[in-house]
Structure formats: C-alpha cells, structure tokens
C-alpha cells in the first residue's frame, strides 16, 4: 500500500457540490411533480367519525383526496413492526392514514394531492373531519396508571416488559447483593423528550412509468424502503428502485421505514400516473415523525467503602409514544449500555415500555445511551458524594481493566448477540481527560463547577453491509455500497479506503451510496455502523479486485503476482518500476472484447490479444471485468468509548448556566479520516448540549405539543455552544480487518450526564432531572 490516505484528514469530496448549491436534496428533485399534503389530527386521541371533503373540491389545482377507505387493502394495512422482540408482547403500529382512531396530534388522516403545495394546503384547510375526542394519555406516570388506554387492547398501556439480570461472581443477584452491601443509595432520575430534528425534514418523491417505480426518499435506508414499498404495493422487487439523494441530516429519525408517506406517495403516483412529491414541513416534522429520550429511572445501588458497585438495580419506565414501529431498541440499548466502562458486581435491569398519546419514539443519535449513561454517571457521582471521594476515583475503582478484554458483560445486546467488549483502555482515557480539563488543578468555588461522564458505545452492529468496486478501462474506480449518507462524509472516507487498498489516487475514486440501482443489499445507516461495516466490506471488495488485478498484470508482465504492487494506479514489479502496467490496461485485459470503441478497448479485442488459444477467453471460475463485490458481517459489535468533562458557571442571581469549557477524549479505534471524526464529535456534543440545557418536547395535558416550532424548541445556535477541545486514543478493534470502531454517536452520549455533574458541583444541589433551564435551577435553589 503506497497511497497512504487511510488516516489522513482528506478534504471532503462531497463539498464542492454542496458549497455551490449543486447538492440534490429531495425537494430539489421533481420540479414538475404534483405536491402532497396531509390533514393531520389536531387531537391526541379521538375517534374519526366522518370526513367531509366537499368543501375542498373547488380548490384550484386540486387533483385528488384520499382517506383510509380509498386505499386498496394492501396499501391500507397497518405499517410493519420492523423489529419484533419476544418482550414486545403488545407491539402496535399505525395505519398509513388513520383508520378509526387517531392516537397522537399529527397523525395523518387525509392525503391531498394538488398542483403545488400551496393549493394542497388550501384543500387541507377546507376538509372537515368530525372527531369524537377520547381522553388522552400523556406522560409516563399517567400511562403507568393505566386508567385510560392508548390502545384498547393493550392493558395497562404496557407494550413491552423485560428483565435482564447478571449475577455476581458468587451467584447472587443484584437485589441480594445490594441488601448486604456496606452502603446503599436509592433515587429517581428523569430525562425528557427531545428529537433528531435534522434541518431537512423527511420527503418522498415517486415516479411511475407504467412498469417501474422509482422512489426518492430522504431516508437512512434506501434498500429497506425498497423492500417495504414493494411489499406494500405488491410490486416485484426488481420493479422498484429507491434512491436516497443528498440528505440534510438524519440522526436516527430517517432510519424508520416505511413512513406512511413512503407508501402513500408512490401509491398515489401509480394511481394517478403522475409524479408526486411530498416535502415535510417543520411543523409536520415536530408532530408526525419521531421523538426520543423520555424515561423515568428508579435506581438502587449497593457499594463498598472504595465506591466499588456491588449491586445495581435499575427500573426504567420508557415512554414509547403511540406506536412501536422500530420495536424496543431504545430501552434495550439503555439497559445494556448503561453499564459503560464499569463492571458492577451484580446488575438487574427491568424496563417497561408504555404507550402514550404522543408522537412515537424511535432512535435519535445515541439511541437510548444518553439515558443509560445519565443513570450510571449520576450513580457514580452520588456514590462519590456519599463517600466524600473524588468522582474520578470512584469511577476508576469500577473500570474494566485493560487486561480484561474481551470483556463479557453477560447480557444480550441490541443485535441479539452477547454484550462482549472487544477492546479499550479506560484508565488511560481517564488520565487523558483529567489532564485535558485540568481536573486536579481545578479551583472550585460557588457558581463554578466541573463535571465528568464516561460511556461505552456498541458500534458497527450487523447483520452486514456490502461493497462493490469496479475499475473501468479509463482507470477510474467506482465504489458503491447500499447504505446511505446524511453528512458523515462517506464519499470521502470510503474513497480513502479504496484508494489506500488499491493504490490509486483518490481523485480517481468515486463513491455512490444509498442507490438501490447500484447496490441492492444493505441494512442502513444507524448505530455508528457505516464506517465499520460498509468500510470493511469495501476494503474486502477492494482486496478481491486487487488480487485479480495482480493476477492479470502478472500474466501480462510475466511476473509472479507476489512480486507486484500497485502505486498511483500502476501495477509494477517491486524493485523494477519499468516493468509496469496501468490499472486501466489491466481493466481492459480483464474484459475480452469483440468490439472496439476506442484505443483502450481495441487492445482487448480478439485479434489484439495474445490469449492462449487452448483456453477460453474468460477462464473457468473467472468473470469478465475488473470488479469485485464483498460483504462484511461482523460477528458482534465493536465497542468505542469516550470520556467528557466540562466546566460550567452558574449565575448566582439569574441562574443562567454557561458552559465555559468542554473537553472530549474518545477512542473509536483506527481513524479513517480524523477531520471527519472530529466533526462528528463536535456535532454530537452540540446536540448533547441542546439536550442538556435547551431542548425538550413539551406536551400539555391534552396531548398538544405546545412548542412545535424552532421558536420554542430551542436548538442551540453558535452562541450557545462552547469551544470543544478533543483528545484521541486509538485502541484498534481486533474484530475487523481495518481495526475501526464507529464514531457517529459518540459526541452526544454523555453530555447530559457531564453537565448535570458540573452543575451539581457548582451548586451543591442534587441534579436528578435533565434538561435543566435557568428557571428550573432557580426553583431547585428555592428548594
């Protein structure tokens, strides 16, 4: 490998188009398409008695109005429950359009198609839906009481219930271990709802040519949307293509599929024989996509004089909103990743996922980890406070030691595989973060506090991803993978991998993601898995191509493949640079031709090559062309880790909270592109600070989301985000060929825990609920 691009801060290849307005986001496509809009429920819980569309029929530009009754049986079915789980005994999903009952404000009831979005909204405003309001269930406590039901057939509003237990070495359970511990603490923690909130909402655009359906969707998984759409519309898979164009951020919400609109828009395009497009607006995004985070946690912990946790017993109430299309991934992740870098003596975790008449809950960057980390890190701080010890000392006493890897936590992770950490070095990481923030020299005073938070993140979950690599006769390398990109710089990172593996200049490599025309098999972009799973798949595919290239070149150069190397796109004999053949020629030689199109291809025609007459032009077991496809299917997740620390200042009079410094040390194995990884960390931290100090979804008792706008849902601007200082540690993963771990979610995970820790330190008041606003801090001070 001569072209050392792996590990270099290569500038992004997607940038020139995105910087000049040449990006192609969903709403940039289909200029002539009809526009769809939806009448959405204004009630949190109601029975739809009647829909009167007559008032809308005269709207100029109106094309069609559809209610659930207009949908064919197949299209009108309840949306799939994507990830079933034995503990999810009462999984429920919505219908593409409300069938009898609406269960949250924003649920789609009527679809309107019109000449443009203005006309479509005019029509929506004139459609009258007669609702019989039902009593809504809002908030975890009300859901748990079970007096009112979100789904008539789900008793107690309980969708899922799961207990996981890891016994201590002596076989005792957590509860028993706590009983006999020298010290115990019990407390309750609360985390409120937030949401992914990408700046580009969702969107779907469909074209039907009478036989084939092409769907563009602002999605994190085009291959899965394709299967879901084909299934819902009853089309053979080869007749459906799904493309994720440039996507303006995802952060989890766009992994869910199919959204009602992903079924309805293509169906309308087929029914009408016209192109149809739906572009979600911001208000729709607030009430009709997904939220996350909301949990109540009851914690009991037993520990010894050193702060070592002997038993930990956590009971989680998880607000799942109205539906569970993405299964119970979030509370499972919370339950398992709660353990972080620690090894409690015994652990018991129980969660109950309850339905409420609010927007459904599906993963948002971090996907349950921020809640788990909040729980564990608050626990560590409380133990330290109780024992009068330094908070980092208590953490260190509980760390898994570097010589204990691979470390089996004895649980089942979100991918159904054992929770075994592959590698890590937590004591070193703690030393680094303490040094970076100046922990030991920090001078505490009222109104100034320091906080810390540690996490471990299972990344790169399976089942698999694939990569296809083709070298064409012009020497260009075309890489494709099925998963999608939402700003993570995959085009660059994957090009770096390919350029490094193949020994070609990166300028000659192009990468396509999320286009089922190019690669049909994929899972999707979530769980910090793209670099790990697709990255390794692409590396493996490149290795196949490289091997074939060397074999063909060896033939041409009459050398041994073992003596060959590729540099700058040229295969040469090591030590004899004049004996060389460019990859473009190898590509020509790999594809015996009858017809010539240009000078290069002429070299591969029947009378030009000196192919052995006693062998077929394409040898047995070979394929024409210089291309390769391979898959990477990890045996289990890799475990990245990080530690964050912050210094905050609280105003004694106004109770404003200001983050003065924020430091991050993280370890995601080998780095493909440190610039991109650092960018992921920055973005995650900003989202974390949003979640810690600014963002929350506020529902009133009627189930109305009262802050459904950017005026009142407070995503931080530049003025709210401190400078982020970073340090890196690299413990390569032994699990995959490239030694990498995922980094996409790292930044966001421990932020609420860190800020709570720092505010508590500054104020001397226990912080058990996040986010925290100046008003809430004021109320806490008042007692």
């Amino acid at each position: 490998m001569t072209t050392k691009l792996f590990g270099a801060p290569v500038q992004r290849r997607e940038d020139p188009r995105l910087l000049t307005g040449q990006g192609r986001y969903l709403d940039d496509l289909g200029r002539d398409a009809l526009a769809a809009a939806f009448v959405r429920s204004p009630h949190a819980h109601a029975r739809v008695r009647d829909i009167d569309v007559s008032g809308a029929l005269d709207v100029e530009g109106l094309v069609a109005i559809y209610t659930w009754e207009d949908l064919p049986e197949r299209v009108g079915r309840a949306l799939p429950l994507l990830i079933p789980h034995p503990a999810l005994t009462h999984g429920r999903t919505a219908y593409p359009l409300a069938r009898d009952v609406v269960r949250h404000v924003g649920e789609p009831v009527v679809m309107v198609v019109a000449a443009d979005r203005y006309a479509a909204e005019d029509a929506c405003a004139l459609i009258e839906v007669d609702y019989e309001p039902l009593k809504p269930v809002v908030g975890i406590e009300e859901a748990v009481q079970g007096a009112q039901l979100v789904h008539e057939d789900v008793p107690g509003n309980v969708g899922a219930h799961l207990v996981q237990e890891v016994a201590a070495a002596d076989g005792r359970g957590a509860r028993e271990a706590i009983e006999t511990s020298p010290h115990t603490l019990a407390f309750r923690l609360d985390i409120e709802r937030s949401a992914s909130m990408p700046l580009e909402g969702r969107g779907v655009y469909a074209r039907w040519d009478g036989r084939d359906l092409r769907v563009y969707s602002s999605t994190q998984t085009s291959t899965s949307v394709r299967m879901a759409v084909a299934a819902a519309l009853g089309l053979p898979l080869p007749q459906v293509e799904v493309i994720a164009p440039d996507v303006g951020g995802g952060f989890g919400v766009k992994i869910v599929h199919p959204w009602p609109e992903e079924v309805l828009v293509p169906w309308a395009a087929m029914t009408l024989g016209r192109e149809v497009k739906w572009t979600e607006d911001r208000r729709e995004h607030f009430v009709s996509s997904a939220h996350e985070r909301g949990q109540v946690q009851y914690v009991r912990v037993g520990f010894d004089d050193d702060g070592r946790v002997l038993g930990l017993d956590v009971t989680i109430l998880h607000d799942h909103g109205a539906y569970t299309p993405y299964g119970i991934i979030v509370p499972i992740v919370t339950s398992t990743q709660l353990l972080g870098p620690y090894k409690p003596g015994a652990y018991r975790v129980e969660f109950t996922a309850v339905y409420t008449n609010t927007v459904q809950v599906t993963p948002y960057r971090g996907a349950g980890r921020p809640q788990g980390v909040f729980c564990m890190e608050r626990t560590m701080d409380k133990i330290a406070r109780y024992l009068g010890k330094d908070r980092t000392e208590v953490r260190a006493a509980n760390f898994i030691r570097p010589d204990e890897f691979p470390y089996d936590q004895g649980m089942t992770f979100q991918d159904g595989r054992p929770l075994i950490y592959d590698s890590g070095n937590y004591p070193e990481m703690l030393r680094m973060i303490k040094e970076l923030i100046g922990w030991d020299t920090f001078e505490r005073r009222p109104g100034l506090g320091i906080g810390i938070g540690c996490y471990v993140e299972g990344t790169g979950v399976g089942p698999y991803e694939g990569g296809h690599v083709q070298i064409t006769s012009d020497g260009r390398v075309h890489v494709s993978t099925g998963l999608t990109s939402q700003g993570q710089g995959h085009e660059t990172a994957f090009a770096q991998i390919a350029a490094t593996e193949l020994g070609v200049p990166i300028e000659r490599v192009s990468v396509v993601t999320g286009d089922t025309r190019r690669f049909g098999y994929a899972v999707g972009t979530f769980a910090s898995r793209a670099a790990v799973v697709s990255g390794n798949a692409i590396a493996l595919a490149c290795r196949k191509v490289r091997e074939k290239a060397l074999r063909i070149a060896a033939d041409a150069l009459e050398a041994d493949p073992g003596d060959l190397d590729i540099a700058d796109g040229i295969v040469h004999v090591v030590g004899a640079p004049s004996a060389a053949v460019p990859l473009s020629t190898v590509a020509v030689l790999a594809n015996p031709l009858r017809y010539a199109f240009d000078e290069e291809t002429a070299k591969a025609t029947q009378f030009a090559t000196a192919a052995a007459p006693d062998r077929p032009p394409v040898a047995e077991g070979e394929e024409p062309g210089l291309e390769g496809r391979d898959y990477y299917s990890p045996i289990r997740s890799t475990f990245a880790a990080g530690m964050h620390a912050a210094i905050v200042e609280t105003d004694p009079d106004t109770a404003e909270i200001k983050v003065l410094r924020y430091a991050v040390v993280h370890d995601c194995g080998r780095l493909i592109n440190p610039m991109i990884v650092e960018g992921q960390i920055h973005g995650g931290v900003a989202q974390g600070i949003g979640g810690a100090l600014y963002e929350r979804m506020v529902y009133d008792q009627h189930g109305q989301l009262v802050n459904a706008s950017f005026m009142d849902f407070l995503m931080p601007y530049a003025t709210e985000i401190p400078r982020v200082e970073t340090g890196h540690l690299e413990t390569p993963s032994p699990l995959n060929p490239l030694g990498i771990k995922g980094a996409g979610e790292a930044g966001v995970i421990p932020v609420s825990a860190v800020i709570a820790s720092a505010v508590e330190d500054a104020e001397g008041i226990e912080i058990n609920r996040m986010p925290i606003s100046p008003s809430e801090l004021f109320e806490l001070r008042m007692g």
Partner: protein, 274 residues
C-alpha cells in the same frame, strides 16, 4: 407551511395606502418578520394584505435635539446603524438576529406589541409616542398616541382598523442621564424571558420591564435605587410558560431591573462628569 391566499395591494404613497386600508381593511405588511411566520403557519388569514414597502417617504430616521423619529419603513438594522439614540441602539442589538433586523421594522415591532419585545419597553420608558394616520372623509388625518396608551395588551396596540402607524418618536435622554437594557433570553437573539430597561437622570429613575405582563410594565423608582428590585417584583404580573415559571420571571426581572438601573446610573453620573 404556506400562506393562505389573499388579495395584495402595493400602494406607492401614503394617501393611496390609507385609502386602501379604509376601503378593504386588511393587514399591513411592513418587514413581515412577524406577520409572515403567522401566515406561513396559517395562524392568520387576512383577506387583504396592504404591503407598505413601496410607500414613499416612510423610511426616514430623523434626529433632532428632542429625539429620534423613526419612519414606518426604517428597518431595525438601519436604525441600529444610525446609532441615533443610545438606548434604542442598545435594545436593537437584543432584537433577533442580523438577518431579521435587516427586514423587520421598529414601528412594526411596536404595533405588533409582543409583551416580550424590547422596543415597546424603550418607547415606554422614554415616554415616546407613535404617530398614526388614517383616511378620513377624503383626506389624511393623523393622531399621536403616547406610549402609555399605545400598548393595550399582549399583541395588541392602539392602532385601529384602517390605521397606519407612520412613525414613532423616541425622546432623547435628558442631559446628564444614562440608560441601560438588560435581559435574559434562552438563546441569544430569542425573545426575552424577562428584561428591563432603565433611564436614570437627575430627577429620578424609570424602568420598563418586558416579559412580565401584557405589555411593557413601567415603574417610576424615584431616587431610591436600593429598593427598586423589590418594587419591580411587586409591580409585575408574570405568567408561567414552557420556558420559565412566573416565580422565576418575577425574581429575574428584579435582578435585571437592578442591573439596568445600576448601569444607567453609572452612565448618567459619567455624563454629568460626576
């Protein structure tokens, strides 16, 4: 989120604008930075919109010894740049973000009368007025509404149907007095949770508070600044909302009034060379 349909009028001069308003009623469109969000969310659906952006002669910023007169089309950014009145300039930096200030108008902000907006407090604390015009029996008539009568309630000003606010007058600070504005907002540029602007002169001190009542709450604190916070807290009547409790707002506005008064007093003293 697209505005509902409306009939559009773009008069070129004041009489035409007023005639149109008299004939069709309709909503005045100035900078649009408050009206268009409401239209986009379909929270308002006026049958007629009277766009005053082409009306000649409304964009003036006139400075005299007595004070500053700001025309209905003077944008926040222009008034801020003109720097004609220290308190107004201070307050404008607290209004939204530069891109909003490039369109939004000072007069529009007064008419919009958001209880958390900064500029109404400035007008109120200075005792300024708004000049309003209407079409009356074939001619243009004007009336001046003093600040104390202008802010009727939350999102409600004294500008009546068919009327156009043509300018606002912000009296200059008296010789030897100082002014200051302090607020706390959740994010930089957001409407304030609470705020207070103060003018302290030889004769006494006044403070106008925002975010703690239906409009700017003006309190004459006289010469005794030490008990000002308590008096401000007594005078205001804040509500709970999703961003802050009433108790916090009451506490906060006291802190901010104290800070504003202290800064204004210091500035006044400096101006007097004391």
């Amino acid at each position: 989120m697209k505005p509902p349909p409306f009939t559009y009028h773009a008069p070129r001069d004041l009489p035409a604008a007023l005639r149109t308003l008299a004939e069709v009623g309709g909503k005045v469109l100035a900078g649009g930075q408050s009206l268009i969000p409401m239209l986009n969310m379909r929270l308002a659906a006026p049958g007629h919109v009277v766009d005053i952006n082409r009306v000649a002669g409304l964009d003036g910023i006139e400075v005299s010894r007595a004070g500053v007169t700001v025309g209905a089309l003077a944008r926040h950014a222009d008034v801020e740049r003109a720097g004609a009145h220290p308190l107004l300039t201070w307050a404008l930096k607290l209004v939204a973000h530069p891109a909003i200030r490039n369109r939004g108008t000072v007069v529009g902000s007064l008419v919009h009368a958001d209880p958390a907006a900064e500029l109404p407090a400035v007008l109120a604390v200075l005792g300024g007025h708004v000049r309003v015009a209407r079409w009356d029996c074939g001619r243009v008539t004007f009336r001046e509404i003093p600040a104390a009568e202008f802010f009727v309630g939350p999102m409600e000003s004294a500008v009546g149907p068919g009327e156009l606010a043509v300018s606002a007058f912000f009296p200059a600070l008296e010789e030897g007095s100082g002014a200051a504005f302090h607020e706390v907002s959740r994010r930089h540029g957001d409407y304030a949770l609470a705020g207070a602007c103060a003018v302290v002169g030889v004769a006494g001190a006044r403070v106008a508070c925002i975010g703690v009542g239906g409009g700017p709450v003006v309190i004459d604190v006289g010469g005794d600044l030490s008990s000002a916070a308590a008096r401000v807290r007594d005078a205001v009547d804040p509500d709970d909302d999703i961003h802050a409790s009433a108790a916090y707002r009451r506490h906060l506005v006291g802190v901010l009034a104290e800070r504003a008064l202290r800064d204004a007093a210091r500035e006044g003293a400096a101006a007097r060379g004391a």
